[in-house]
Structures are given as C-alpha cells and as structure tokens.
Amino acid sequence: MNIRLIDADRVSYLRSQTIYHALAYAKKTDTPDTIVLDVPKDPYVCIGFHRDLEQEVNVEYCSSNNIPIIRRETGGGTVYLDDDQLFTQWIFGPKQLPVKIDTRFQLFIKPLVETYKFFGINAHFHPPNDVHVGNKKIVGTGAAAIGNAEVVTGNFLFDFDCHTMAKVLNLPDESFRGNVLESLQKYMTSIKRELNDPPNMEEVKTAYINNCAEVLNRKIIPGDFTDEEYRMMDVLDKKFTTKEWLYQDSSKKHRPRVVKIHADVWLYEINHQTGGGLIQMSIRTKGKRIDHVSIKGDFDFRPPHKLKGLENVLRYVELSEEALTELIEAFYMLHRVESPNILIKDWVAAILQVNK
C-alpha cells in the first residue's frame, strides 16, 4: 500500500501537535500510512505525556511572554519549538513498523540522517533515538501508540533558540539556568550552525521524502486529510487547550534538579547536607564522567580559593566511588585543604547522587 504524504506546511502551534494525534485516533484498518510535514507558525513549549507541568516549565515566564504550552501524547521531556523547525510525523499501522522500539527508531531516523548528509552535514544515528553531528544533537524523536496507530515524530532543526529554551524551563536558580544555556550551546547544533549556505525548507522536504521512499521501499503519494480527520482535529484542539489536560494531576511538587541536554549529557543540581554545612553542586555529566562542576554552599573550606581547584580536578573523573575517593583524597593531601566536618565520603556521596 502506498504512503499518503500530507505537507501541511505552516500551521498553528496547536495543529502542529493535534494533526498527528488526530490522524492516529481516526486511523482505521484501510487508512493509508501517512507522513505529515508541518511547521509551527508560532513558538510554543511542548511537554511530554507524563511530565509535571509546573515542575518542568517556567509557566510564569511563558505566560508573560505569550508562549503557549501544550502537552503531547508522546514521551520525552520539555522542548521549545518554533518555525525554524520542520516536523516529520509518521502515523503508521502497527504492523508496518518494527515491533522493537530500537529498530523502529533506527528505521525512522535513517531518512533523516540521509537527508542531512545529502546537504553536506555529517549526521549519524546516535542510539537509542537521536541524530548527532559529532557530539552535538541535531534531531530529537519521540514515539507513541495512539489509537490504532503507531506514531513516530522527529524534526529538522534549521536553527535552535538556546536562549529561549533555557528560559522556558523551571530551574532552581539563575546559575543553574546559565549552566543549562552553556550546555545547550555546546551540545546542540542546527542546519544553520553547520552550513554556510543552508538549504531552504522546500529543498529539505523534497530530499527527505525521496529518502523515506527509498528506506521504506514504498511509493509516497501526496494526499489530504479526510473529513473524519478534520473532525478529530477539532476535538483534540479543544481537549489539548483545557487546563485539565495541560496540568493533569501530579503528586510530585518538588522542583526539578535534572535537565537532559541529550542522551549522553545531563545537568544536575545537587543539595547535600553534611555535618559541616550544605554542599550545593551543579554537575554536568557526559557519559559516565563529570564534564563540568561548580560548587557552593555554607560550609567552611580552607583556603577558600582552593575550592576552584577542586572543581577543576573533578572534571573528567569517572562517576565511581573508588575513582572519586582516590582523587579527592589526593587533592586534600596535595593542597593541604581543610573542610571542618565535611569528610571525603561526604563529597563522594554528594556527587554520586547523579547516579540515582
């Protein structure tokens, strides 16, 4: 069976989410598998199905800057989306996609990677479900079983507004927000950042559809929505803009302490009470090592300027009890550092909270 292509082009922020949900809910056994391409006209924030809105999003900032927030039925975290992103949405019958989620993502990502390569960007699949250029992420994907369909979504990042992304997140303080911004700038990229002469969206769409046809070995024929699909969009437009849907019920009221930059890079805000005072650390991890750390708190550290030295030696250390203990012990001995009532094991316990 051929695949239906719907190029919805520029749509409202709401429709950029409700279209693919509606197609999934309206899907019947004889509905063709469909690929939708669209671009949100207005910027907005989108949170994952199970996420806590107030825990994840700076609702006040979004409200005062007229940035709408919408909850999707696919997984993942909070993302800032705007018209520099071309969305690719597959709404397929369950039997038309691999059963294993990992394999499904590999299939979905292949035409994305091939398209980036076609335009000269050395993109590669980064398991389980991202596309990277070097160590920077250029595509995020999500998937869900919705109605009678399996849905997989992704995007082409023409540009990425790291500043606004860092602002729309609910974070413990401005220092941590600064770390998030720096990490986004360091570990995210876009077509505009990679190419001096970037292609326009129409060129990317054409190349992408050609690559989809080749990867899926099926014909892709332009089509349109059915009346039933339009009706379902109207229903979902209403549902997705209710407070009940957006807020859901949540028992988790604590503020976030973890921000995912991409699959290998995470930021943690840690508070660890010790006999000598509160240790507050902002830690960025890359793989199983510390990539960056900043330390503050109300403890006594002598001499105080050596705290910077401790931050420096902790970079690139493996996140294991043995490696951390050995390194911090050596630092204390070498620099004759004192921290009354804060033991080596307190530092190790504080840092290893990232493994929880």
């Binding site: 997984g75 059963v99 479900n129 999500g142 869900a144």
Partner: protein
C-alpha cells in the same frame, strides 16, 4: 510455578494472556482479576520511566487503556483484557515504574479489576500450553529476545 522460557521470555502456564496486547490476567479468590504486562511487553518497551494507571472506580471495556507507560521516548497504553471496573491500582508504580521491568508478573502488576463477565472474558484469552505456543510463534515471528534489568525476579533470569 510452572513456566516456559522462549528466547529468554518467561510465560507462566497458570496465567491467562491477551497475546496481541501483551497483557496477563491472574484470577483471584474474590471475583477480581490482577492484570499486568508480560515479560515480552516489558522487554519490547525497555526500561520504563513512568507508569500511570487509570483511577479506582473507572469502568473499562475490553481493549481500552487501563494505564499508560513511558519508556525512553515511547508512550503506549496497557489495554484491558477484560470488561469491568478497576478496583485497585498498584501504587508502587508512581514512585518506581521500573518495577514493571523487574517483576512483571508479581510486584509490577498494573491494576486489579472486577470483570462484568469473567467467564466470557477468560474464554477469549489463552492459557496453559495454548498460550505458550501462541507466544512461541509471536516471539519467533517478531524476533524478540527478552532482556532483564538488574534486580529482576530470579525466575526470569
């Protein structure tokens, strides 16, 4: 308890299964049933980050969602294998969704339901050798090999 292992996937012969939706049903003494995801389901999903069941008192028709689970970036429903009312939900899931991966047939159960027509619903599910054979075909056809995370129940490993 008697069970079969197919490509590392455990299938208990005393449970009832909706093989298509990858759910199991255990019949309790009080006219209720306990429902959960199978070992195959937890393996296909991968480590589960969130599991949210519908509320107690909610009536569900067979095939309708009784919970949603999220693993990595995939979200999907757990579909009810019976028609009836949810009488209990597994509160452990709220704080520790990966219990579904570690113990899909015991601590990781999803909901308990009171079926409207227990006999009729069970008749449409598979159990015993029929369930094992159906899973053998499905597992081989889909090329599934079950994987188990650290802390998994011993009988699964």
């Amino acid at each position: 308890m008697a069970h079969e292992k197919i490509n590392e996937c455990v299938v208990f012969t005393n449970l009832y299964y909706s093989v298509g939706d990858n759910t199991w049903v255990r019949v309790n003494d009080d006219d209720t049933v306990t429902i959960g995801m199978t070992d195959v389901a937890q393996s296909l999903a991968g480590p589960i980050l969130h599991a949210k069941a519908k509320k107690v008192g909610v009536a569900r028709k067979k095939g309708r969602p009784i919970a949603t689970v999220e693993s990595g970036k995939w979200v999907g429903p757990v579909k009810s294998p019976v028609t009836g009312e949810i009488v209990a939900v597994n509160e452990i899931l709220v704080g520790d969704a990966q219990v579904v991966n570690r113990s899909p047939y015991n601590d990781g159960w999803i909901v308990k339901m009171k079926p409207e027509n227990m006999e009729g619903d069970l008749a449409e599910l598979l159990t015993g050798d029929a369930a094992v054979e159906a899973y053998r075909a499905k597992i081989e056809n889909d090329g599934v090999t079950c994987t188990h995370i650290e802390g998994t129940d011993e009988y699964l490993i």
